[in-house]
């Protein structure tokens, strides 16, 4: 493929970006209407989402075809590697905002609220953690680390191992190991999400711990919720890789899509370890 490695691949004009923009406009304005009780906001969000799904299928489909067709040279591959790394860095910073909020509240915000200056305003307020603020309406049970969360830690760590096993299969041209490893990883991801859904239901029911349970509920559900969303996205990526593996894509030398999904999965894994320590355990 002399041509591909000499010339950097510049794609033809594409219709997909504008579909993405229309999708986000529909979803954004629809969400504003929905949140403020203006109809048909919910339908606009749905329509936008469908357009987004169409765009993602079309766009990624084209990228897969270009990749399998040999349009991408070594330099394009390097661009993909750089960009995935930087994308994951941006995701790290998104989580950093919420982790930062948690650290601030625990080490600065709450002690401030409980100090002598605020004793007149909130008499008898104890700035301990977990805390739902001075105006506690109902009692709640905080989350325990050594139950489902510990099990989930084990599950995610195992999924990292099975994914690496799948990667070895790809490198050693053992297609069966690749497919089994990927399927096992996805299964573990789904089990993780199932446990988390059960945990949420249990929190809302028996523990009376909700998103509205003051700052503890806010940080707990926003951090674990965004993590769960990322597990979902990672599992979707891996599912695409599974289908592509079954279809015979990837060679031991050229399979960056697989590696990108794996990087993402490991990133989600590491975020979970932080969550387990600072949200569930400490």
């Amino acid at each position: 493929m002399g041509h591909a490695s000499d010339h950097y691949f510049v794609p033809e004009p594409s219709k997909f970006p504008i579909f993405g923009s229309i999708a986000l406009l529909l979803m954004g304005s629809g969400a504003v209407m929905w949140l403020n009780g203006v109809s048909p906001g919910n339908w606009m969000v749905l329509a936008g989402f469908l357009v987004l799904v169409y765009m993602l299928f079309g766009w990624f489909g084209q990228v897969v075809r270009e990749s399998e067709g040999g349009s991408y040279g070594r330099k394009v591959d390097k661009s993909f590697r750089w960009s995935m790394g930087w994308f994951i860095f941006s995701e790290v910073m998104f989580f950093a905002a919420f982790f930062g909020a948690l650290f601030y509240v625990r080490s600065i915000g709450l002690p401030w609220l409980g100090d002598a200056d605020n004793a007149l305003l909130w008499p008898g307020f104890e700035p301990t953690w977990p805390n739902a603020g001075p105006i506690v309406e109902e009692a709640f049970t905080p989350m325990e680390a050594w139950g489902i969360p510990a099990l989930n830690t084990l599950i995610l760590l195992t999924s990292g191992a099975t994914l690496t096993w799948a990667h070895w299969g790809l490198l050693k041209e053992k297609r069966g190991q690749l497919i089994n490893g990927l399927a096992l990883t996805i299964l573990l991801g789904v089990i993780f999400l199932g446990f988390q859904a059960y945990e949420y239901a249990h929190a809302y029911g028996a523990m009376n711990l909700k998103l509205t349970t003051g700052i503890y509920g806010s940080t707990f559900f926003m951090l674990t919720g965004f993590h769960g969303l990322h597990v979902t996205i990672g599992a979707i990526m891996l599912t695409v890789m599974l289908f592509r593996s079954v279809a015979g894509h990837f060679t031991p030398h050229r399979h960056f899509a697989f590696e990108a999904a794996a990087w993402y999965w490991h990133f989600v894994d590491v975020v979970w370890l932080f969550l387990f320590v600072v949200v569930y355990w400490l």
Binding site: Y104, G109, G214
Partner: protein, 525 residues
């Protein structure tokens, strides 16, 4: 090297024509042009808001607008100028110039580049359209401080989603720029041979990737506080409105360098050209830019000296902030040293660049004054701060954008811009700019608060002067449009090297630059 085909020599492009060409384009020059035109439109939209604000402030009392609408105007003026005008304009420059300056055939991800741009019009629709919904646009100030932003009407939700979409656009754009610079340089173009504009954009893009997600997190917390009952910024639930300020300014301070570092880059290209000397202290410029970027992460709380924090914390943020004067001083020194004993001429780009150095440095000095905690507590939220950040954002970022536009217009259009119009534009801009904003220092020191539609009689004279200056400045910008339109339509033919002593790969391709350039990578010395 393969033979150059006629297609490559002439501005040939295939694919859709008309409107569909612009909607589907994957060409960095087309996309750069769209960014620049979009930014210009938003600049005038934000400018109309600014002039309405100044019209109201011409005299004490309420004459032109209601206070509620005044608050919406100050908020939207800030958001539109920052996210709609300044940032997209710099990305437009990056799109046009970076591939030309490093000898790349296009941006690394040409389709994603298109999406980065085409996310902006939907975001702008949401943002500006919020004036029309019940309750009007958000009036929480461009910083969207809680608890005000938690209480606003649906215009606030529109602003939140607009920020989300613009953030996605910025992150994709920044990733594209970083990857292009790291991976697409022509053979021989080592990092330390890159033009300084490319260096400043590499560091800016890094800042964007690091902090735009933090802003997304901040506005997401506002959204859930507003609609889903979380308590991030609600003290009754154990949260803290000051938390919002911390998260916001962790984004916000790197953000101000996002808006000035590419300006430093543009000026560093222009000064050597018209001083006919290489840039003085190239390596120190690179290190200074990197230092500013690193320091920008540890100074955010200087925006919040009055929110109440321990003295040790105030001191840390005060000294860290003052430290930024060192690399910035290095830059100013290097620009002046570049001009020292140079064969200088003062075409329009150089006028704006020299004007930039002078007026931006004044804004830098007032920044240093604001960094001193005890003084800042006096001038917090006064017109002194308004004067300070308009000196660095208008006379800094915007003047550099003007300078860069005049400098590269020959490359973009194939014609030299009119020196006559350009010089009128410069002198009107710099005189009226100072007329508008210099009196604000006095107003601020005398205690006039910002974001208030009415004021005491003792502030009347300086406010009247500022309003006259603002209208003069606003209308002077029509000269800018005139200069661009005239240059696009005709004028003196520009040579490939449009300015006598201009250095760099972009001046080795014809003017106007063909649709596709550097399909065969050039070899750099």
């Amino acid at each position: 090297m393969a033979a150059v085909t006629p297609d490559q020599l002439h501005g040939h492009h295939h694919g859709p024509t008309g409107l569909m060409r612009w909607i589907t384009t994957t060409n960095h020059k087309d996309i750069g042009t769209m960014y620049l035109v979009f930014a210009l439109i938003m600049f005038f939209a934000g400018g109309v808001m600014a002039l309405t604000i100044r019209a109201e402030l011409f005299q004490p009392g309420l004459q032109v607008v209601q206070p509620e609408f005044f608050n919406q105007l100050t908020t939207m003026h800030g958001l539109v100028m920052v996210f709609g005008a300044i940032m997209p304009a710099f990305v437009g420059f990056a799109n046009w110039q970076i591939p030309l300056m490093i000898g790349a055939s296009d941006m690394a991800f040409a389709r994603m580049n298109n999406w980065s741009f085409w996310l902006l019009p939907p975001a702008a629709l949401l943002l500006v359209g919020s004036f029309l919904v019940p309750g009007g646009a958000t009036a929480a100030g461009w910083t969207l401080y809680a608890p005000l932003s938690v209480q606003m009407g649906m215009g606030m939700d529109m602003a939140i989603f607009a920020v989300h979409i613009m953030g996605a656009s910025s992150i994709m754009g920044a990733i594209n720029i970083v990857v292009t610079i790291l991976n697409m340089r022509a053979p021989g173009m080592t990092m330390m041979k890159m033009p300084l504009f490319v260096w400043t954009w590499l560091i800016t893009a890094y800042l964007l990737i690091a902090v735009m997600p933090v802003l997304a997190g901040a506005v997401t917390m506002i959204l859930t506080d507003r609609h889903f009952g979380t308590a991030f910024f609600n003290a009754a639930g154990g949260g803290d409105p000051v938390l919002f300020q911390h998260v916001f300014w962790f984004f916000g301070h790197p953000e101000v360098y996002i808006m000035i570092l590419p300006a430093f880059g543009i000026v560093s290209q222009i000064i050597p050209t018209f001083a006919r000397k290489p840039l003085f202290g190239y390596a120190s410029m690179v290190y200074a830019t990197a230092s500013i970027a690193i320091l920008s992460f540890v100074v955010w709380a200087h925006h919040m000296f009055t929110t109440g924090m321990p003295a040790a914390t105030q001191l840390f943020f005060m000294y860290a902030t003052m430290l930024i004067a060192v690399p910035t001083g290095v830059k100013v020194f290097n620009w002046v040293a570049t001009m020292w004993k140079g064969s200088m001429t003062f075409e329009t780009p150089m006028l704006f660049a020299v004007g930039f150095i002078f007026v931006f440095t004044m804004g830098g000095f007032t920044g240093l004054i604001c960094a001193i905690a005890p003084i800042d507590i006096q001038v917090q939220d006064t017109y002194y701060v308004v004067a300070h950040f308009h000196y660095v954002l208008v006379a800094g970022s915007l003047f550099a954008l003007f300078a860069g536009t005049y400098y590269w217009l020959p490359k973009w259009t194939g014609h030299m811009p009119s020196e006559k119009i350009g010089k009128w534009h410069f002198w009107c801009s710099i005189v009226f700019f100072n007329l508008a904003f210099f009196p604000m220092h006095f107003l601020g020191l005398a205690g006039m608060p910002r974001r208030i539609p009415d004021y005491g009689l003792q502030f009347a004279d300086f406010n009247a002067i500022a309003t006259i200056g603002a209208f003069g400045f606003g209308f002077s910008q029509l000269l800018f449009v005139l200069a661009i339109v005239k240059c696009a339509r005709g004028g003196e033919r520009a040579a490939a090297r449009s300015w006598e002593a201009a250095e760099g790969l972009e001046w080795t391709v014809p003017s106007p630059a063909p649709h596709h350039t550097f399909e065969e990578a050039p070899l750099v010395r």
